[in-house]
């Protein structure tokens, strides 16, 4: 901790995001960070993989955005993980779909995430592969080394493990608070603070 790069290892944005200088963010204009999110070195986010077929949702009134990856607040992307929008066939043509991630989502080191949606309070362990277009609801814990098959839906309060991943248990009532990442956020950055005991 004593030998820090002179400029600081992280770029800290106005909204409190801490993005490591050694992280690779491709297509940054298509990546949305909600604030207070930590992106560690060697993380890769593929913002360049945007929709090639635009959904004609003129009725919905949603702005036709090019967002490829949207990340909420207090997310923690550990060293060497990769976020990649899922690809699929839409009306017969191949296109990427946006990857949306909620708040307090932890992605462990070396994991590859190609989900379509990840809710709030989700813990993804290390060396996990989340297959294309998977949907992970709130309060889900994915144990180290799991391979979540493409298109899998994981309901809330599931503990998931295995290759292919299956639900192996339930998050107990007293385990909700453990998903909070506010304290972890403070422990990294250019001014790291010790974790509270």
């Amino acid at each position: 901790m004593s030998r820090r790069p002179p400029r600081g290892e992280y770029i800290e944005t106005d909204t409190g995001n801490k993005v490591a200088r050694k992280a690779t963010l491709v297509g940054t204009q298509n990546i949305i960070l909600g604030g207070k999110t930590v992106i560690q070195p060697e993380v890769m986010i593929r913002g360049d993989l945007i929709r090639s077929v635009q959904a004609q949702s003129s009725s919905g009134g949603a702005p036709a955005s090019n967002t490829a990856v949207a990340i909420g607040r207090y997310c923690f992307l550990s060293r060497g993980c990769c976020l990649r929008p899922p690809g699929r066939l839409y009306k017969g043509a191949f296109t990427y779909m946006p990857l949306r991630i909620g708040d307090h989502v932890f992605v462990g080191p070396g994991s590859v995430v190609q989900a379509a949606f990840i809710g709030n309070h989700v813990h993804i362990g290390s060396k996990v592969a989340v297959g294309e277009s998977a949907i992970i609801k709130d309060y889900v814990r994915i144990l180290d080394g799991s391979v979540v098959p493409p298109n899998m839906v994981i309901p809330s309060f599931s503990v998931v493990a295995g290759q292919p991943a299956r639900v192996i248990g339930e998050v107990p009532e007293g385990g909700h608070e453990a998903f909070e990442l506010r304290d972890l956020y403070k422990t990294v950055g250019n001014n790291p603070q010790p974790a509270p005991s």
Binding site: A93, V147, V153, I154, V167, E173, Q193, P194
Partner: protein, 635 residues
């Protein structure tokens, strides 16, 4: 072996049968020496130790409740894949699986998705005009994107992309049509009627019916069951009328399957109790068995030559594993499953089993202690009384180098651990700890709790804290940094953990130091040096306020060694599973003064003498917990 990270498990009072009768522990739980020291390795402990997150707390009984003792009630059923709620009325008629289009792969249990055979990537799609709606005309298949299995492998395709469950129910593997449950029911009715007609003049013989071609198609389970049921019901009615008076053989006849009594008992088990005729206790006689398919007779197909031929052509690669067979859903429309699904070609997609949302009640006072919102998609709880908001959490870190966990513990080398107790409640609490001086089991490790009694400040609001620091939110952290520096200096400058003194203190937490001398796991040493220390270390070191206890303690120990040394039979069997894990049983007693809200204490024997509203009420809670430190290296 991966290093074991330290853990704390807490014992639920339900594991002690004496505790279930009274709502609270005895009013004076401060003397663990009275009871036997809790042995975390005892087989019984398997069922009573839980991490704090798994424990609930009953506010009325003031006691810990665990997943084993709470009473669960189902709030909602839902499919874990489509997340649709299933009304409980549907459950009876449709079973406990999703009846939409949610299936698991029969080979790898990954999710199956519906896709059109037409829009396979081979077709030249990339050149298709931008927004041309690709024609989804089917046929459709179920396919697994994990292992690439698809329903074409069992010869099944679908006409529509939705309601796969119903479409699948109409198809056998290979694509031949199959009667649906309703059609089978109708057919059963017809059969029953025709059966009755043929039955009444002469009992049908197997020879007669086999000629009619009805046995060509094996009965499905439902049909066979209904046929058997009606047949036995008729038999029972007949035996009631004809043998009503003959009592001679009743004692003998009762024993066999063919006896009306045992039959009515068995039927009451399998048909929901409606058939059990209590009045007709003394029915006698022997009844005949079913003789025709109409009566439910199903001849076993013992000819295995097709299976052998299949094995010849497909080899073992074509057979399925036990797990795959177990995952298969009960397939009511098909002949009996026994031995039927041995080949991959017989596998069926597995409809997702439904999942539940459940509320939990206290087993003693029946109050609800956890209740989720009924809506499937919400994660909120109406009631959630978790133990973590009532009892302190305990975290364990090595004193030196807290960042890196040692791979294993060095035998006979003292190590110090910092235990941090964090108080979740808004009153200051007094904590008293007691642990045996030697851990129970064959390999007793020495344990010394340097500061067994201390107070923790109340868990104040974060905002209160911020105000106290003059609105400077980083004030706390600065304090902490100072502390850290002090601590660091302490490590270098030889600041020792002192007996009777707490190690570190914060807003609502206190750290103390525990010193451990891990036992040697050598069996020869067990035979020579530790004879006296016994296999069953039952003595508990009780810790009191006074510090001059230690001499007394040692005397006690010697005495004990003498006592045990005489009858020591040394168990020198090889190291058992997890016997190298160093676990310290610790008795925790918490005392605090809570605002007496005049709450009605249910279940007598509560420890609340004061009931006045403005008087602070003395509360206490005591329980055993286990501190797991790590594995001891085998020397």
């Amino acid at each position: 072996m991966a290093p074991l990270s330290p853990y704390t498990y807490i014992q639920c009072p339900c594991s002690d049968p004496g505790n279930l009768s009274s709502a609270t522990r005895s009013s004076n739980p401060s003397s663990p020496a009275d009871e036997d020291c809790f042995d975390p390795r005892a087989p019984r402990s398997n069922y009573s130790l839980y991490p704090l997150e798994y424990l609930l707390f009953c506010d009325d009984c003031h006691q810990i409740r665990c997943p084993r003792c709470v009473a669960e009630e189902i709030v909602a059923y839902y499919c874990p894949s489509c997340l649709f709620e299933v009304p409980s009325s549907n459950l009876k008629s449709e079973g406990n699986r999703c009846t939409r289009s949610c299936f698991q792969c029969p080979v790898c249990i990954g999710p199956l998705s519906v896709s059109s055979l037409e829009t396979q990537p081979e077709s030249n799609l990339l050149s298709a005009p931008d927004n041309a709606p690709a024609p989804h005309t089917g046929p459709y298949i179920l396919s697994c994107s994990y292992c690439n299995w698809s329903s074409t492998e069992i010869g099944i395709t679908f006409d529509k992309p939705n309601n796969i469950h119903a479409q699948l129910a109409k198809q056998r593997n290979g694509g031949t049509t199959r009667l649906t449950a309703k059609e089978r029911k109708d057919r059963r009715k017809d059969m029953a009627q025709s059966g009755l007609r043929s039955q009444s003049p002469t009992p049908a013989s197997p020879a007669a019916t086999s000629g009619t071609g009805q046995t060509q198609e094996p009965l499905d389970l439902e049909t066979q069951f209904t046929n058997l049921k009606t047949f036995y019901q008729r038999q029972l009615a007949e035996s009631n009328s004809s043998h009503g008076s003959s009592m001679d053989l009743s004692s003998l006849g009762d024993l066999g399957f063919a006896s009306p009594n045992s039959l009515s008992r068995i039927m009451s088990i399998y048909t929901g109790g409606g058939l059990h005729d209590k009045k007709a206790k003394a029915r006698a006689g022997v009844m005949r068995e079913a003789l025709s398919p109409d009566e439910g007779l199903q001849l076993s197909d013992l000819d295995e030559s097709p299976a052998i031929a299949h094995l010849h052509t497909h080899g073992h690669a074509g057979t399925i594993t036990t797990e795959q067979r177990l995952a298969q859903p009960p397939n009511l429309g098909e002949p009996h499953l026994h031995g039927a699904t041995r080949f991959e070609s017989t596998l069926r997609p597995i409809p997702y089993l439904l999942r539940t949302k459940r509320s939990k009640r206290c087993p003693i006072c029946r109050h609800i202690i956890s209740k989720p919102e009924a809506k499937v998609q919400t994660t909120r709880f109406r009631i959630r009384l978790v133990a973590g908001s009532y009892i302190p959490s305990i975290t364990i870190k090595p004193l030196n180098n807290p960042a890196a966990l040692p791979e294993t513990l060095e035998p006979l080398k003292p190590v110090q651990y910092v235990l941090t107790f964090k108080n979740p409640i808004f009153d200051p609490v007094k904590i008293t700890l007691a642990s045996p001086s030697k851990t129970p089991g064959r390999f007793g490790s020495k344990v010394t709790v340097l500061c067994p009694q201390f107070e923790i400040d109340a868990n104040t609001d974060v905002w209160d804290e911020a105000l106290k620091d003059g609105g400077d939110a980083s004030g706390t952290s600065r304090k902490r940094q100072q502390q850290q520096q002090q601590q660091r200096r302490g490590d270098d400058g030889g600041q020792q953990a002192e007996a009777g003194k707490i190690w570190e203190r914060g807003r609502n937490w206190v750290s103390i130091v525990v010193e451990v001398v891990p036992a040697s796991l050598r069996l020869d040493r067990l035979a020579t040096t530790t004879t006296g220390k016994g296999q069953d270390e039952r003595e508990t070191k009780e810790v009191r306020d006074d510090d001059d206890e230690e001499e007394e303690e040692e005397e006690e120990e010697e005495e004990q060694e003498d006592r045990k040394g005489k009858k020591a039979i040394v168990d020198t069997s090889p190291l058992k599973e997890d016997e190298d894990v160093l676990e310290i049983p610790m008795f925790v007693r918490i005392e605090w003064e809570a605002d007496s809200v005049g709450d009605d204490m249910l279940g007598g024997g509560s420890s609340a003498p004061a009931r006045d509203k403005d008087v602070k009420e003395k509360r206490e809670l005591a329980y055993w917990c286990v501190l797991g430190l790590g594995r001891v290296r085998q020397d």
